[in-house]
């Protein structure tokens, strides 16, 4: 039964072009990050009438700029793409009536949620693979090779970080009865996490710290964020449990 639900979710993401758009978004992010890191200083220097001597202050790009660009872009576009991919998955089924059709069959309601989550996380993993591979390739060409192990550990941390937003969006979609409310809930969750992440001291425990930890791994810094990893995992588990419990009790 669970395999059937997984297969349906995967085919739905593929056949409705959502997966393709999602992967294309990550591919573009992976390509433009090192390119922007390399050529932004060049572009700045080529601006006409630049004050004399300013060009000398623009530093030469390094591999560190490529990593910083990669993190920044993947974080920003990734959150947006993940929320857009996930916010409608349950609310749409309820709104259109397909959930009612499905739930008259012998399926577990929690299995429906978990199948959607698992496929969402799989697509996110694929997105980060595409993103990372493109960034690695362009960074090698434009700068120098990145530390392979550290770079993929950074991507694993990004998987957990973006997984938080994916799961919160899925929870919002389950709690809502319409796609509009689900979207408001998903973006509301994003705003709450951003606000909490900007509070000093508290920010050390928020999922955003995972990106800092990841960049430190690649750039040989000494930042770790185990508490943030624990909190991020906790948010994912909690959001999934809330979504499952709510859906188990909900009248369709």
């Amino acid at each position: 039964m669970f395999r059937t639900l997984l297969a349906k979710e995967f085919r739905e993401q593929w056949r409705t072009w959502k997966m393709i758009v999602f992967l294309a978004g990550f591919l573009i992010t992976g390509i433009i990050s090192p390119v922007l890191a390399k050529y932004t200083p060049e572009i700045l220097k080529s601006i006409p009438n630049l004050p004399a001597g300013l060009a000398d202050f623009i530093p030469a790009p390094t591999v560190a700029d490529s990593v910083v660009q990669y993190l920044k872009n993947t974080e920003q576009f990734g959150i947006l793409l993940v929320i857009l991919l996930t916010m409608g998955v349950m609310a749409q089924e309820k709104e259109r009536g397909t959930a009612a059709m499905l739930l008259t069959k012998p399926v577990s309601r929690s299995a429906v949620i978990l199948a959607k989550w698992l496929i969402g996380m799989t697509i996110l993993l694929a997105g980060l693979l595409v993103d990372g591979l493109a960034c690695l390739a362009y960074t090698v060409v434009l700068f120098e090779p990145l530390p392979f192990g550290a770079f993929w550990t950074l991507n694993l941390l990004l998987l957990v970080y973006l997984g938080v937003y994916l799961t919160v969006a899925l929870m919002a979609s389950t709690l809502a009865r319409s796609q509009a409310i689900a979207a408001a809930g998903a973006f509301g969750g994003l705003i709450v996490l951003i606000i909490l992440g900007s509070i000093p001291r508290l920010s050390d425990y928020m999922p955003g710290q995972l990106a800092t930890w990841g960049s430190s791994l690649v750039l040989k810094g000494d930042v770790t964020a185990w508490p943030a990893l624990g909190v991020a995992t906790g948010i994912i588990v909690l959001a999934l449990v809330i979504a499952c419990l709510r859906f188990e009790r909900e009248e369709i």
């Binding site: 039964m1 085919r11 739905e12 009612a100 012998p106 369709i252």
Partner: protein, 306 residues
């Protein structure tokens, strides 16, 4: 086979079900009738596991609904009033790759069953078209096909033919007739002619509770009130005024050239009616004593409740 005991369900201040109890015996086609908002769809949703009653219990094949370890969903096939599908799927994919495996039917068996059902519901030609482009009638046929995939012993059909054209309606009703005896069918509809055609037992609900439940023939016999139908080519003129004043007449309705005269007692009414028609020199084409249709019974029962 299907037993409901004292279902109560409220939505805010609205009491959708108010102590509904009914009993559907094995193998019968049960016509579930009631005006809009009577509680038919709510009952169906509870039996399907989509909603829970505030109080009351129900059993399907002796399994109690909503109890842990007592999932009745593999025993039932459900067709909601407005069946919804994934628009990107084709009918064959939906039945063979999605619905059948949920009932543990896989591979060639699933493919054969899907093709068989698509043939039965008249969607064979559209088997590989996207469901997203289907008309409402085609979706209703698909809805019937998905309800039958696992050959369930119990079918819950909510308005199964309301979106179909006359030919489609005839086909689906014939299909339902072929299931009689082997499948217990609870069929809600507002098209009373369909109930008269296929249902063995009729239950009428209003305001969330069952008013009448009986075999169709028994119900018609119980509510029989002799009715005269008179058709006249030159209208009824003063005769209508006369007939409305007669003590043996309870109601008179006229549509086009036909008058329907409901009387208290057929023997008392027959002779004076015939004499009066002759006296008025009406061009009577037809004078017939008819029994009320299920529609008449339905209207009388529900009006009495209102």
């Amino acid at each position: 086979m299907i037993r409901i005991e004292n279902f109560v369900k409220t939505y805010g201040s609205v009491r959708a079900l108010d102590g509904l109890s009914l009993n559907v015996e094995s193998g019968v086609v049960y016509g579930f009738l009631g005006p809009n908002g009577a509680g038919k769809t709510t009952s169906m949703r509870i039996l399907s596991g989509l909603a829970r009653p505030d109080s009351g219990r129900a059993w399907i094949l002796d399994k109690e609904i909503g109890q842990p370890g007592s999932d009745v969903r593999s025993l039932i096939g459900v067709l909601p009033e407005e069946p919804a599908f994934y628009g990107w799927m084709t009918p064959r994919e939906y039945l063979c790759d999605f619905i059948a495996p949920l009932y543990n039917i896989h591979g060639k068996v699933a493919a054969q069953r899907a093709d068989e059902l698509l043939e039965i519901v008249g969607l064979k030609e559209a088997a590989n078209r996207r469901i997203g482009g289907f008309s409402r009638g085609m979706r209703q046929r698909m809805g019937l096909a998905q309800a039958l995939v696992h050959r369930p012993p119990v079918l819950l059909l909510d308005e199964p033919v309301s979106a179909l054209d006359p030919a489609g309606r005839k086909e689906v009703l014939e299909l339902i007739e072929t299931l009689r005896g082997q499948t217990t069918i609870l069929l809600s509809t507002h098209i009373l002619a369909d109930v008269e055609r296929v249902c063995d037992v009729v239950g009428i609900i209003a305001k969330g509770c069952l008013i009448v439940q009986a075999r169709r023939e028994d119900l018609l016999a119980r509510y029989v009130t002799p009715l005269f139908e008179i058709e006249s080519d030159n209208g009824f003129g003063h005769w209508l005024e006369w007939v409305e004043k007669q003590a043996f007449v309870t109601n008179v309705t006229v549509s086009n050239h036909t008058a329907r005269v409901l009387v208290k007692d057929v023997r008392t009414a027959q002779k004076p009616l015939l004499e009066s028609l002759a006296r008025e020199t009406l061009a009577v084409r037809r004078f017939e004593m008819v029994h009320p249709s299920l529609e008449d019974v339905f209207l009388r029962v529900t009006e009495k409740e209102a």
